[in-house]
Amino acid sequence: MFRFITRRTLGAVVTLLIIAACTFFLFFAVPADPARLACGKVCPPELLEQARHNLGLDQPLFVQFLTWVGGIFLGRDYEGLGYCSAPCLGFSFVNKAPVLDTILDRMPLTISLTLGAAVVFLFFGVATGIVAALKQGKALDKIASVSSLIGASLQIYFIGTLALYFLVYKNHILRQPGYVPFTENPLNWAAGLMLPWVVLAIIFTANYTRMTRSTMVEQLTEDYVRTARAKGMANRSVVMRFALRGTLITIVTILGVDLGTLIGGAIITEQTFGLQGIGQLSIRAVWSSDLPMLMATVLVAAGAIVVFNIIVDVLYAVIDPRVRLS
């Protein structure tokens, strides 16, 4: 098992390096000159050259990339701005603040948004999925599959804004979405993120209901479920212990993908609700040609996806002994 994890993490690091390299070299393919933004209103060529040097952009691309990667593993000394310790992602071109601090500062919001939504859509999605599978063909199953179909077709920026209009702007039922750190005031934390959670959940629940339902239906026809019943097990424990166990694999697979993308910064959700998460940070980094910030946000986004892939594989082994021992 340990060997399996180390092999996968090595693979992950390689993938991240490839993605980082792509971002880095593509960044310089964009026609804009980041130095121009660090130079004053009137920017004669010699001053522009000086600004480019201060940002370290005058070295060959390959050298810059190596120094950047070096910074992550060994830390890096910025002349003038001081030393930045091991996981050094550099200083933002815009406000010269260490990029890592800004990322860590924005991460709690994105994590709260993701986990909050995950709890909601997992609970509703899987629950309705199971019920729909058990009551296959009955009224409940029809409602579940129709609502899941509609849910899957909705767009965050549409129902998000509709919800904002009816729940916040017109009737003030909910608070304007905003982030209050959990440690500071859990109640406001929940109230502030309630709307985004619900909206995100509506869209994701659909997928989980459909997947749980179809896998559960398959599981219930498995022979060992029939054996369990033949052993006199009560229906509830047959479903929970045997059928659900098989369905877990499908749920874990799509959950890994969803969490990976959400942690990477739900750009559209944050844009719709005006939340300053990793998504907004990455967008602003793009518009202000802030290379270190962009590299950091891409690393976070890609890192999240890759890490969750590994977690999913590990969970496979935990759930299914056949995988574990092969």
Binding site: E222, D223, Y224, R226, T227, A228, R229, A230, K231, G232, M233, A234, F242, R245, G246, I319, D320, P321, R322, L325
Partner: protein, 333 residues
Amino acid sequence: MSNPFLSVRDLTVDFHTEDGLVHAVDGLSFDVEKGTTLGIVGESGSGKSVTNLTVLGLHNPETTKISGEIHLDGQELIGASRSTMEKLRGNKIAMIFQDPLTALSPYHTIGRQIGEVYRKHTGASKSEARARAVEMLTRVGIPQPKTRVDDYPHQFSGGMRQRAMIAMALVCDPDLLIADEPTTALDVTVQAQILDLLKELQDQTGTSIIMITHDLGVVANTAHNVLVMYAGRAVERGTVKEVLNTPRHPYTWGLLGSMPRLSSSVDIPLKPVRGTPPSLLNVPSGCPFHPRCDYMDLAGPELCKGERPELSPHRGHGDACYLTLAQKREIHK
């Protein structure tokens, strides 16, 4: 004769499907004496498995219509409540299935799956259940049971898995064991070991067994009595000797004819039953076998196509065919 241990009277089972009503079992009656093994033989789709699943009450009530009576040791099963059935299953009646790989849960250890039943029915603690599981594994002849009890099904060979299956079924010393084609998925050598094991366990515990199979060889050396089923009905019933040696129904002849015998010489071609099993959606009128029966004209086609032949006589060696006893004896010397 006290009333039989298990008696099935006029059992009819129909399924609602998209294409209409499927008559899986149509007025079936049979008995099983205590401590004896009844072999149920018939092509796939003849209703063998459906019958036994009905005994256990494992059908989905919404889509199945069941009528008739089943008495086990005097207790009525069809009308029984869900909870009583749950108490019975695994405790008084147990079942083993054809493909042990898919019939055992891949996610739980063998010990746990066996122990589960024991704990459910006897309220034993985890450790007691585990000890019982180890004991059962020893009884069914699994080497190093103490270590193998924590293994997973995929770590067992085909034969060993079937043994584990049997261990699980017999853990609560059930009175009736239903074996649904237990050896079909195994190769011949392992098949013999499993059958001997079953016989040996029957001698020890006096459990009666219903052996469902399409292989007459299996019936020959395990069953005391035989029931031949066709299209959801019994067409012949009797002791092993009677049915195998002096079969009286054309379908049974066909079955015997299509089976290679050690005794018969190699160059006599086997005589398979022509045609295919009838669709249970619209069962042929009269005797369901008449479209494939070579002797219809002998018995009189209007008879065979007309009324449905009853299984007569009610006791002993009965068959459901309009041919006279003499004709039957004459045809099959």
